[in-house]
Amino acid sequence: MITSFLVKSLDRTIAVAVAILLLLAVIVPALNLLTAPDHPLHVPTYMVSLFGKYLTYALLALALDLVWGFCGILSLGHAAFFALGGYAMGMYLMRQIGARGSYGNPLLPDFMVFLNWKELPWFWYGFDMFWFAALMVILVPGLVAFVFGWFAFRSRVNGVYLSIITQAMTYALLLAFFRNDMGFGGNNGLTDFKDILGFNIQADGTRAALFAASALALAGSLVVTSGIVGSKFGKVLVALRDAESRTRFLGYRVEHMKLFAFTVSAMMAGIAGALYVPQVGIINPGEFAPANSIEVVIWTAVGGRGTLIGPIVGAILVNGGKSIFTAAFPEFWLFALGGLFVLVTLFLPKGVVGTAQHHLARRRQARAAARKEDEQTDLEDAKPMAAE
């Protein structure tokens, strides 16, 4: 009974969310481009890129949720896949600068010129073509995730151990990308982008288009994830999350399942990174910082892991809060952020969306059963530790 309710409401929520995203993809750019700046409904460009950024974060959180919420793999290195996707896109954008760089070198990016590089390193070949870069955005994070996951899942590295080595992975990548000898611009990363697919990257139209692309990518990923989660494969994921040995003894190759989910998730993170970079205008090794990956986990937890809408809501809530607090209470916002994490883990272990869904489901069930129980459900829900 409850399940059928949940399943139905879940499907409905996803449909609504996808519809909202599609609507946003049309309306926001329209309001930004077609209304006058003083029009009450005008969306300033500042907001467009800000929310565009949030949407890519939401996509990253959704990707993490697929492996954490549904598969029980707490990756503390997901920002690495995001950054790898971002770098692939950044390399394309760097190549698009062409001879317009400070030194006017048609082939080499500026940072290579002033560090006396004579030739373009081999791994920069092909990135002048968008299709190639777009392919790499998906393939590179996917490949890294595949290789890493193949080793890790095969040897059954689990739980905390897995979390720690994913952290080691992103930390190693961070250090590697910091190295100027790597040929990715060192600490400064890739920046000074001029245009994307021939459009000026700073133009309002391009920003609006990037926003729309982010919204579409998120909607698309939502549909895909929802499909995965809703399939029998998704059920196996949840099964192995809750009882891994049991799943093995039923004849499922748990490592293949995990590897597939992990790789798909890394690819989604890569897409998010690729959309993020043109909107913020820079990609640098700071994105690999372990703290960033932990933050993604926190967005997901705040929104509600194991739900598909949760990570999206969480990413937007936390980042929106961060935007507001860093401007309004610059000295104290870390207290607010830190406090939020503590409070959410203590009082909302299912996250905002998870708690709401849980609550709704129980309320409906209770209402269906007997009106009398209604109050009691509320009481139980209000007791914070009662959850889970």
């Binding site: 590295v157 905390v160 406090g339 994490f341």
Partner: protein, 537 residues
Amino acid sequence: MYRIIQTVLAMLFLFAAMPQGLRAAEGLRNLVNALGEAKLSAMDEHIAALAKTGEPEVVAILDALGAGNLYARKTDGQVFLTKESGSNLALIDPISGESAGETPKAAMSKIKVNNSVRRAVRAALGGLTLLSPDRAQRLKAAQSVLQTPDVDALDAVENALVAEKDEAVRTVLEQARAAMLLASDRPIEEKKEAVRLLRENGGREALPVLSAALGSAENGLEQDIEAAIASIEQAQEFWNAGQNVWYGLSLGSVLLLAAIGLAITFGVMGIINMAHGEMVMLGAYTTFLVQDVVRTSFPHLFEWSLAIALPLAFLFTGTVGLVLERGVIRFLYGRPLETLLATWGISLILQQSVRTIFGPTNREVGNPFWMSGAFEPGGLTITWNRLWIIVFALAVFAALLFLLKKTPMGLQMRAVTQNRRMASSMGIRTPLVDALTFALGSGIAGIAGVALSQIDNVSPNLGQGYIIDSFMVVVFGGVGNLWGTLVGAFSLGILNKFLEPYAGAVLGKILVLVLIILFIQKRPRGLFALKGRAVEA
């Protein structure tokens, strides 16, 4: 140059007309006052002139000059030795050594010194104190003569050698003599003998002397010098390996200190304690506070400040840990991954609190004298602070091992972590034990902070730098096994230090991380895994 000689000559001429004793004193005063007007580039000659007088007062004057305590009075150009006295300067007459009252700083101008002046002072002092009755001073003098060998001082060194009885001082003096000999115009036999001496006794310090001599060496000596250099370099190779082991041990001890508290909170209790680094930081700040109070109120206790800080840091961070456990963590047992989120939040709050209270900048924590400097057994250089940190890390480890294995408290802790329900039904108050275990882990992180404050920044970011490494150590060593943490810390330290010379610091660190990742694939439960048939469902 010419003008200086002129003034010096003029002064010498003046003295001739004075009675002997007075003349010397007056001459000295003039020479000292001349320092006040001298240009930085001309200081060398002035110092040499002062040293040449050979007067006993010169030692104190040069000492003060080198330390930047020599000031000239703006009104009349008189030069004084000074001591800080509040915002004033206490003046001391350079010749008589008597107090000459106090003046505000603004009325005096400092006699500027730079490195070349300090070098000149060092050389001059070396020559002057070679015959000092104090052994320590003679040794220092001999060493400084060795550091800046000057052919002119050859006679002085040879004189000193005749009188010197102390073996250690003799060795240094002989080396200094050999170094000077090489630059002199003595016969080649003596030089060959000098090269042989340097080759036998000299470590790395002999290399610059020999390579400098190589440039101007006459025929027949060159091969000797080259052979000597090759032999010393070969010996250095051997010592380098030893030095690397030492560096590795030292890095390992730092890792051990950083990780050992985590081995309790994470390893034993299973809490992914992201606030662990902040506990270390709080320990370091406790040290800062203690030193601050000691400096202002009990300056004579400064050498003991670390000893005072240890228990305080343990108590303070332990209490913070206790509060955290009771306030937050106890609600999260059995949900290890969620402890990660909550403790991450706590770490943000702690960092920002410290930033708000103490400011974002580094705070100064001083090294007591017994943790400063280095000694050199053979070709190694062992710094005292690193040595003490290794000793301290091992002591903390031993104490913790003892506590866990041999005391009732430790027994209860192990019982609770192994089987909570059973322990509880046997009358152990599990919540109390949990709280105390967490407090213990935090307290140990705090005392690690005391030690780390000696080698690292004391800033709100201190903890961040150690947290990932700490987790790596605990996971690499094997969760729940203290010995694993010990072995893990030292092997990672040594590995890192052996990779560093070949791969560089950055690549070395990356390689270590990759190796840890690969190692975990091979042994998913770390170096010292607890094996068992426990069926996890």
